[in-house]
Symmetry: C2
Subunit: 257 residues, 2 copies
């Protein structure tokens, strides 16, 4: 695709004023016509939520010099749907989401608004990618993530990929000298062990804050968690047929329905 | 498992007062000790959202005769996490979610709070199942869905299943005489074609309602959509490793990183 033909939809889940989306716009703006459609407030952990019970607002904003940008009152998935239907009036050529402030490797993909936005575009047949940086801080240094986002997006634009291709890219916190490059991985088998912090409000009523500890249960060296722990950025190609085909065959023979 | 040993966690996404969860409690209460933990408000379309930025409330309620029940201010996934950590203080033996007012077949699984609640329990190693009834009406007749929920839950309790087994069960709207039984299926390849209805509020500002049309792109007779259209309940065994292994191998050989 030539640059003038490529429409790049940029979104995220940390909200349109997050430094990570600014880094992503800077990463891809030389690669095509960039249109930003992102939530007007932080939407972390929203997974694949859509807004059904309340109407959506969409307002054009001037936040990125020379680049069309819209903020939306809904979830990351709502942003992608609205972008196609009400702003672009067609599918974008590629959708990039992020750069998330914090990791979205392994099982975190199912909780992640960043990845759900990218998956929504992929479901529409658009090659899509979510970028997440393991540094959670608001003032994190996005130099390396921005380079990786540029590299991967350029590669996606210049490569023939299947319709609906979706990548989950995570970038480690490492010194430039220790960085080893991009590695194609599978999703690690990992989980969160959650606890809830119990507190008492000023009206003597209990409330709970979700807290949790991440546990990697996977010793493989082909996983995203392994790559990130060893100085690589991880790239996991993602699909969304959740059928467990092995168990399906087993049930068909054993349950004799 | 003997009845007295089986703790059954019941949750949903339509909220604790929905008729569907009452039908589910009735479907499973003879099979073990039932504990209900469900959202205090409708949470349809919340996907795998979790609550991070606000604290959670949890209140015991008396809605189901003789059955312990709690309402939670969070999402369906929050309910499952809180049930383990703050109510049961251990994992339930089985988690049943629903019965949802409306379909959750095919790609709808990724938008569904009903299925995300069940998936959250499955991620903890708990055999879990989500039930959804294709009749969206509040006053739908849950006789058949309740029978199917009883049958499947009893089968799950009495069968040795792999840890983390997760089923997506949908029940069609058919006359009892035309009902053909349960069928093990794969997730149909389908999508939503969305539009947004644009309106003007009393302050002359635009707002949008999400609307959409479901399109089945799959002609297979082994899918959940096919089963439901042909008088069967569908059961899709679900897994949550989203890695696209075929594309992973292709990228490793073609991208030469």
């Amino acid at each position: 695709m030539a640059k003038e033909e490529t429409t790049i939809l940029v979104t995220n889940d940390d909200g349109i004023i997050a430094p990570g989306i600014r880094a992503l716009v800077n990463a891809v703006k030389a690669l095509g016509r960039v249109v930003v459609v992102a939530p007007d407030s932080p939407q972390s952990g929203k997974g694949h939520a859509i807004t059904i019970g309340t109407p959506l607002r969409l307002d054009q904003v001037d936040l990125f010099e020379g680049i069309e940008a819209w903020q939306c009152s809904g979830t990351p998935v709502d942003c992608v749907k609205l972008a196609r239907a009400k702003i672009l009036h067609r599918r974008p050529d590629i959708c990039v989401s992020g750069i998330n402030h914090g990791a979205n490797h392994s099982i975190n993909i199912i909780y992640s608004g960043t990845m759900s936005a990218a998956m929504e575009a992929a479901l529409e047949g658009v090659p899509s990618v979510g970028f997440s940086f393991l540094d959670y801080r608001y003032d994190a240094d996005f130099t390396l993530p921005q380079q990786v986002a540029h590299e991967v997006t350029a590669k996606m634009i210049n490569t023939k990929l299947p319709a609906g291709t979706l990548f989950n890219v995570n970038i480690p916190v490492v010194d430039a000298s220790a960085y080893k490059g991009l590695r194609i991985c599978r999703q690690a088998n990992a989980k969160w062990v959650e606890e809830f912090e119990e507190r008492i409000d000023p009206h003597s009523k209990k409330y709970y804050w979700l807290t949790g500890e991440f546990r990697n249960l996977d010793e493989g060296e082909d996983t995203d968690v392994w790559a990130l722990e060893n100085g690589y950025s991880s790239l996991v190609p993602v699909q969304y047929d959740l059928t467990d085909y092995k168990l399906k065959q087993q049930l068909i023979s054993e349950w004799k329905l």
